[in-house]
Symmetry: C2
């Protein structure tokens, strides 16, 4: 199980957020940081066979709570997960379900507007745009 991130860095990322640095959590976090495939829980479990599916779900929940990971809704009845290193949003091809990470838009004004509209402290967000390839137009 090659760690692509240094062990100590993963440990720190978890502990800084109040999470115990278990080997399973480090492996899953490393997996998400080093894959751009936006996997489902089942895909992560399939690749990391030594880790139970329940732990994959439990870990993802903790990583989401602490902001390290976000969920992407692809409209395929399963949640996809994405390491949230830098602010970005998602563009989803409605036909192929391909997911594109994009960051050519500053979300801060949207966050400010939401705080103003709601009075809440914004702790996270989902931005997903769905698109169709012009080549596929009927």
């Amino acid at each position: 199980m090659e760690m692509l991130m240094p062990d100590q860095k993963l440990r720190n990322m978890l502990q800084e957020r109040g999470l115990k640095a278990t080997s399973q959590r480090m492996i899953i976090l490393d997996y998400l940081m080093s894959h751009k495939t936006h996997p489902t829980a089942e895909m992560i479990h399939a690749d990391l066979q030594s880790i139970s599916l329940a732990t994959v779900y439990n870990t993802l929940e903790k990583l989401i709570e602490t902001g390290l990971v976000v969920v992407i809704d692809v409209n395929d009845d399963k949640r996809h997960f994405d390491y949230y290193g830098k602010p970005h949003y998602h563009i989803i091809n409605q036909e192929t379900h391909e997911i594109i990470d994009a960051n050519n838009f500053d979300v801060q004004p949207l966050i400010d507007a939401a705080r103003k509209a709601s009075g809440l402290n914004i702790s996270g967000y989902h931005i997903e745009l769905y698109g169709i390839d012009p080549k596929d137009a009927k």
Copy 2:
């Protein structure tokens, strides 16, 4: 079953989008247009008892396909549905699951950015921001 929208208007909205104007579809569309409660399929079914749950789901699917309705992801394991009359985005209180419709942000620049980043024609989007009441800060 009081129709709050004129019957003919509902009929036209459906037919303009290539959907047969069945009584069930008119009732469900009217329900969504006249409620700001962001109901789940089960809630709609409970209120409109004469319409089967399968039809509620089938109809919602059609209304989503044609852009009349959008899905809101509240993180409570059920989809919530919202009539999409005017462009808006959603702010969700993470503790109470309350949903706020907000429109104090112009989404067109985001749509333009997404088209530029992906080359796709953007056909829809989800914008959801999650927030915590400052009064509940620990």
